[in-house]
Symmetry: T
Subunit: 68 residues, 12 copies
């Protein structure tokens, strides 16, 4: 039998760093989606204020397996 997964794209902003942004995005996606199995980091950006990085954001392609 065939198995099917969906891929959805999210953008996550953290005030701590890229690693936290990825972890937060995965956690948030798992609240609404069942069976999240992975995510691909597609983009990494930073926000800048007064010459310092004040925000880190990542675009993730999140994969989750569909129930049969």
């Amino acid at each position: 039998m065939a198995s099917v997964a969906r891929v959805t794209t999210i953008t996550v902003r953290s005030e701590k760093g890229f690693d936290d942004a990825v972890a937060s995005g995965v956690a948030r996606a798992s609240e609404t989606l069942r069976n999240v199995t992975g995510a691909w980091v597609k983009e990494q950006k930073v926000e800048v204020s007064d010459g310092r990085v004040s925000g880190w954001s990542v675009t993730l392609e999140v994969t989750f397996v569909l129930d049969d």
Copy 2:
């Protein structure tokens, strides 16, 4: 705290022009999705009948912020 937005892709066809296609797509997306904040125009196509443009369609990547 981290904030999260989702990105969804739609294709919109208008009989008036590209600007109307973008506006219609944004309006339609906002009916079902809360907190739409922006859209990226990824593709622009036209349909042709009898040597004239009879339809304009755009592919949009629509961003909307997820509620906490």
Copy 3:
């Protein structure tokens, strides 16, 4: 009036071949989504065990028309 379609991405794995993976993905998507009109094959991969192909998977961008 403008008409709007959505595009969603799925990954489908079949134990029979690429054609079956595409057909299964389309069938599975049509169970939950109304008015699926087409799909674009974006990626094709195989799994290998003991020097033989043991699984075929495709990534599909599925288009479905939104009801008004």
Copy 4:
């Protein structure tokens, strides 16, 4: 039976705007090609003179159906 369409690339320059460039390109292509059914806008450029836009040009991939 299989149906076949060809895709040809044209670049069109208008002195009025992007919309006129697309319409002109479609009209010009339809003079020599039968059964033009659509076009994809691949690139949009402007020419500039004295700080103002003096020309709009688009690159189109024009599709036309081949007669059997």
Copy 5:
């Protein structure tokens, strides 16, 4: 001496499958073009009706050698 080939793009739709679409496109191109030597499969799409694949289409870049 230099030898020259041209590349032209076609889109072919079959009601049987991707393999038939490729074969039909190659056959159709060879009717009008001499010395077709190969084709590159650039895109693969399916049409869907009632949850089943009802059409297979491929975009081919067809190469043919120009006579001197």
Copy 6:
């Protein structure tokens, strides 16, 4: 003798539309740069508020010829 042009990237936001964004960007670039000859529209985005487009922004690659 060789002639040399530079390419610089700008992002312009207009509250009127894409055409105005392009024209404004070209005008603004021409204030500081001499001999602007053209611009390539690389990206088109919209901002959305309350289900309506409230801002149009374009990313332009602006070309200007260097004096000898």
Copy 7:
């Protein structure tokens, strides 16, 4: 502990079809490489003779796990 896989690119030509080309490439790669786990189909081409497809070739990115 970290696990490491290598990715190598091969091009395979079959006289039977794309499926056979993939299977042959996987089999051939497994003769010299241990622990081949999968392959990604990157390109699909056909050779043409007398208006018919006479060869199918695929470019594969083959993954194999490195022993510790």
Copy 8:
């Protein structure tokens, strides 16, 4: 009035070098096409025999202006 140019793709092989391949392709295209104005070098490949380069080939996108 709008002006229109077409873009066509050719592949040229020379036994002398890349520069000769480009020049030959431009010359050959100008035999059949009127008003060739330029060409973009998209790909550069070499053929190898006995550890030496025996052929140079380029893929060109040739632009020519259409008569009104």
Copy 9:
């Protein structure tokens, strides 16, 4: 009124890690450019000496708002 931002590309090398490279690049850009608002991480590379990472470098596209 339209607002305009410029995008400039820098490459930054750090001996501490990717995060430090991003922060250093943002700080360095802010010394010479006013109103830096963000940066996009386009590439990430490492230098290697004696089997260990000895340098981390990132390519950033830095955005800064132009004064009116």
Copy 10:
């Protein structure tokens, strides 16, 4: 005299994070390859279990200089 380097692609999975994945991949590649001089991070992915990141993997293009 000309100098030559090879580029090879590896995928590395770590249970600690992206930085560890890069470092591990570089270390592992240096065991079998002499003169590794750098690596380019091409892709970053995470595995997810129970809503948390359980694995970090990177795809690296590793460069090593060939001995004469």
Copy 11:
């Protein structure tokens, strides 16, 4: 300490050939920019007059190190 380089894009046209275009662009860039260390050839185009190449132009991404 971190070191920073900037990347700027130029287009250079020569009446002699591609090699001259690259050399001229590098020389011209070095007149205004200090510490130019390299350049990446991104595009190669030719102009055509009367069936012969009459101009060669290249697009270069020029790198120069910023003073501390």
Copy 12:
């Protein structure tokens, strides 16, 4: 029977020019690899010292046929 070729990536630096870099890379690859049949020029870069080009480097994807 299926035939199989491998593709490997090398970067070659010459102090004479791009043509020499390609020729040197092909020659060097043929020392260790049997049956090299061709190479694709993927990237072209120059090194700059004191406003002059001091090195030319190319990235090649080299194809060689595997023995049965």
